[in-house]
């Protein structure tokens, strides 16, 4: 059936969006199976219904009807068969779902920032992609460029409309939940304020694909679109290095923050403890704290900066770090995280 491709395609078909990742192909397989199974069950149920209605239509007021209260064998069968079918579909879904949720080690990382009502993409070299406005004052969605056949991991955050001001200002301008949705890749992930969420994909079809915001977020929710352009690796490298590439890689910006915001006074980069623990080797380590063991990931670092007292590192219980809420921006936190990632 041509409208049912599990083969890759950069174009939508009558009933399906493009199939641009391996996951999308697997999705289509399961969807197709369940659709066929549903169709057969549905036709079976409706056919039985119509058949009975026609056959046993009331002929006279004195019609005698059968007195059948139950039939154990039949009832067992029609409970058991759906049960098996449901479990089968559940397991199949689980397999694909865990592939969606298992992040490849070597993925290219891109930061995604959602706000009312726009997306912003920040590459590690500092290059930023934002939306623009055309001659007719119409919004032109931002286009994130990604390499063909390489896994890409998005680290996503939801921020307020004016992200460069400190967090405590403008309390009515709130960050809300958005959802990053690429139909052609069959992936979706909510972007939640106050934490980082992540998503990955590996596009196998060159082309341009829509990104929608799938979680209702207010007036221009419907217009909160973006595009993903999949190009060859060479083309991607060229693009990344060219046109308005970031003045400063994220990690470098992080190093500046480290010096300017006085982190340097309490944290070393060479492994020696100071007032606070060293940052060397911090990324991905299991940290012992008074609240238990935590992996030092994006959320952990973010929380350590904004609410240092939430979890106190073992050995530093009595040392104090000032909370940075209100004096550090989300962009700076992101940069510090990228900086810490480089301190292997």
């Amino acid at each position: 059936m041509i409208w049912w491709p599990s083969v890759a395609s950069a174009q939508p078909t009558t009933f399906m969006p493009p199939v641009a990742t391996a996951i999308a192909g697997q999705y289509n397989g399961l969807y197709g199976f369940l659709l066929a199974a549903s169709f057969i069950s549905f036709v079976g149920v409706v056919a039985a219904m119509i058949y009975f209605v026609v056959k046993y239509r009331r002929r006279s007021e004195n019609d005698k009807t059968a007195y059948i209260t139950h039939n154990h064998a039949l009832e067992f069968m029609w409970s058991f068969i759906p049960f098996v079918l449901f479990m089968f579909v559940f397991s199949w879904g689980w397999i694909i779902y865990s592939r969606m949720r298992t992040f490849p080690e070597d993925a290219l990382e891109v930061h995604v920032v959602a706000k009312k009502w726009d997306w912003r993409f920040i590459y590690k070299n500092g290059k930023e992609v934002t939306s623009s406005v055309d001659a007719n004052n119409k919004r032109v969605p931002p286009t994130m460029v990604v390499p063909l056949g390489r896994p890409v991991k998005l680290i996503m955050a939801s921020e307020r409309q004016v992200p460069s001001t400190p967090l405590s200002e403008a309390p009515t301008d709130r960050a809300v939940i958005h959802s990053f949705y690429v139909p052609a890749f069959r992936v979706k992930q909510d972007v939640v304020p106050g934490r980082y969420t992540a998503l990955w994909f590996q596009a196998d079809q060159p082309g341009e694909y829509w990104v929608f915001c799938a979680e209702y977020c207010g007036t221009s929710h419907f217009d909160m679109t973006a595009k993903i352009k999949v190009v060859s690796v060479d083309e991607f490298e060229n693009w990344l290095a060219s046109e308005g590439a970031g003045e400063l890689p994220l990690a470098e910006l992080g190093r500046q923050v480290y010096a300017q915001k006085a982190c340097i006074g309490c944290h070393t980069l060479d492994g020696r403890p100071s007032v606070g623990p060293t940052w060397k080797g911090l990324w991905g380590r299991k940290v012992q704290t008074d609240k238990g063991e935590f992996v030092a990931d994006e959320d952990y670092i973010r929380e350590s900066i904004l609410e240092p007292n939430a979890k106190k590192v073992k050995g530093f219980e009595n040392a104090v770090m000032p909370p940075y809420t209100g004096t550090i921006t989300e962009d700076e936190i992101r940069a510090v995280i990228e900086f810490i990632k480089t301190l292997k």
Binding site: E61, I68, H70, Y97, M100, R101, A175, I177, R186, K188
Partner: protein
């Protein structure tokens, strides 16, 4: 049963007392049922107007009749009105109130005053919700997701308070029904002789009592956060936005069964009555309602597969949700099996019941798609979900509500609904429904997100079909309205048992006397003894 008692010709619950005041202060469950009837249909009319506005706006890309801000309010009011003021009270508070006591042979519900108070709670809640329109309105969607709903807009606060108060109507009605079923059954009416409608209402009541308070607390927290800036759900205040979703769906998933279980009950009654046949698998149907009620408390996370909850949680909620599919499938097969070797009368209530089976099957199987983690990641928050729950809530609950209305109308008002009008309304609602919502499955599968004021040009065609369908549904309900008015004014006089059904309500006169039966019935057999 009771031998033909001499009726006081002409006195019944309708003319037992007279005047508006007697209605507003009535403690008679039947009159309270009628109050709900009027209320629910009034709000259905309002919610329906909002629905048609939504579909009209979506007829074309770009602005058709309103801008995005208005559109967002319109779908919010459509959802909130339909869920809290129509579908939740619809069957239990209207048909349930009227027939639960009669079907078990009682004179009234256990707590008549509480029953009246429930209705006032609904009205008060509705007043709050509607008044929000005058202070700028609410645009959060009926789901009130945080932090968006912590928007400091007075409209949102009023709306939330309205839903909170209306919730008490639901809780109190549930309480009343459970007490009534346990305490007021007529002699001989054992638990395995109560009609399946009662079993369904009973299961629903359990959910109402257990789940609605959670919603109430959650809504209160939102209101408090809005008014006093206490951080529960907004991270800017130190709260957790996903926590809200857990609370909300902990109520709202079971609430789905508050909305659909009563419909199951109605369908069981209709199928037995119009097949003149004992229901197949009485016990299975009765207990599957209880099973659904129980499992429904453990599946809420299926609304949150992409919310950032852990993968383990996603998988667990997925498998538990699949389990709900089993008792639901059992019911469906039992109803179909009941038709076997029956004597089927295709009167309009039965058409609605058969239409229900058709639509609910589609609603059910598409639920399996959404319960499957990997599929839901793509389909979540798209029109596929919109189509799915309309198949269940409208194709299921509303079809059952109208079918039940036509079925019990002769009992409630002593007059028959005109059969032609009944059939015409069925045709428009059933056909229009499929034309409206089937294309939405395709839209969702293709990736059109829900709550979108505007969409890609490639989605326009299917949206137009959908809009045309919605006008057909509109016509269908206008015909329902005409049929009801026509029946009230000119309807043919109904006998006590026009359908030849066996449950207790058909043994009393139409309309029933003030306290339902002139003489307390003695029950000696099950509810569907067609031999």
């Amino acid at each position: 049963m009771a031998h033909a008692a001499t009726h006081h010709e002409g006195t019944n619950y309708l003319n037992h007392e007279r005047g508006l005041w007697s209605w507003l202060t009535t403690l008679d469950h039947k009159r309270i049922g009628i109050l709900y009837f009027i209320t629910v249909f009034f709000f259905f009319f309002i919610g329906g107007i909002f629905a048609l506005l939504i579909r009209t706006e979506l007829f074309k890309t770009g602005v058709t009749v309103m801008g995005p801000e208005t559109y967002n309010q319109v779908f919010t009011y459509h959802g909130a009105v339909m869920v809290f003021l129509v579908i939740i009270p619809g069957i239990p508070a209207f048909l349930g109130n009227f027939f639960l006591p009669i079907q078990i042979g009682a004179k009234d519900v256990a707590f008549p005053r509480l029953n009246l108070m429930s209705w006032y709670c609904l009205i008060l809640g509705a007043v709050f919700a509607v008044s929000s329109l005058f202070v700028g309105g609410a645009d959060t969607g009926w789901t009130f997701y945080t932090p968006y709903s912590i928007s400091l807009k007075p409209g949102v606060v009023l709306m939330v308070v309205g839903a909170f108060i209306a919730g008490f109507s639901s809780i109190l009605t549930g309480l009343n029904f459970i007490a009534t079923v346990h305490k007021l059954r007529a002699p001989g009416m054992t638990m395995n002789r109560i009609p399946l409608f009662i079993w369904a209402l009973y299961s629903t009541s359990i959910i109402q009592i257990l789940a609605t308070p959670v919603l109430a607390i959650t809504l209160l927290l939102i209101a408090a956060e809005n008014i006093f800036q206490i951080g529960f759900f907004d991270p800017a205040l130190g709260g957790d936005p996903v926590l809200f979703q857990h609370f909300f769906w902990f109520y709202s998933h079971p609430a789905v069964y508050i909305m659909i279980l009563p419909a199951f009950g109605v369908i069981s009654e209709l199928i037995a009555a119009f097949s003149r046949k004992t229901i197949f698998g009485y016990t299975a149907i009765a207990y599957s309602s209880l099973a659904i009620a129980a499992v429904s408390f453990f599946v809420w996370g299926h609304h949150m597969f992409v919310s950032g909850q852990s993968e383990v949680a996603g998988v667990l909620f997925s498998v538990l949700t699949m389990l709900v599919g089993v008792p639901t499938a059992i019911k469906l097969f039992n109803w179909i099996a009941t038709l076997y070797k029956a004597s089927i009368n295709l009167a309009s209530p039965m058409l609605f019941a058969l239409g229900f089976l058709f639509l609910f099957t589609i609603g059910g199987v598409t639920g399996i798609f959404l319960a499957t983690t990997a599929l839901d990641v793509h389909l979540h928050d798209t029109y596929f979900v919109v189509a799915h729950f309309h198949y269940v809530m409208v194709g299921g609950t509303l079809m059952a509500l109208v079918g039940g209305l036509y079925y019990w109308f002769p009992k409630m008002f002593g007059r028959m609904v005109n059969e032609t009008l009944g059939r015409v309304s069925f045709f428009f609602i059933f056909a229009g429904f499929n034309v409206t919502f089937f294309p939405q499955f395709v839209l969702g599968a293709k990736g059109m997100p829900r709550r979108y004021f505007d969409y890609l040009p490639e989605f326009e065609h299917l949206n137009q079909i959908s809009t045309i369908g919605s006008y057909m549904i509109g016509i269908g309900f206008v015909v329902v309205f005409i049929a009801v008015i026509h029946a009230l004014l000119k309807g043919e006089k109904a006998g006590d048992n026009p359908w030849g059904a066996k449950t207790l309500e058909w043994t009393t006169s139409s309309p029933p006397p003030h306290e339902n039966f002139l003489k307390t019935p003695i029950v000696t057999a099950g509810p569907y003894e067609y031999r």
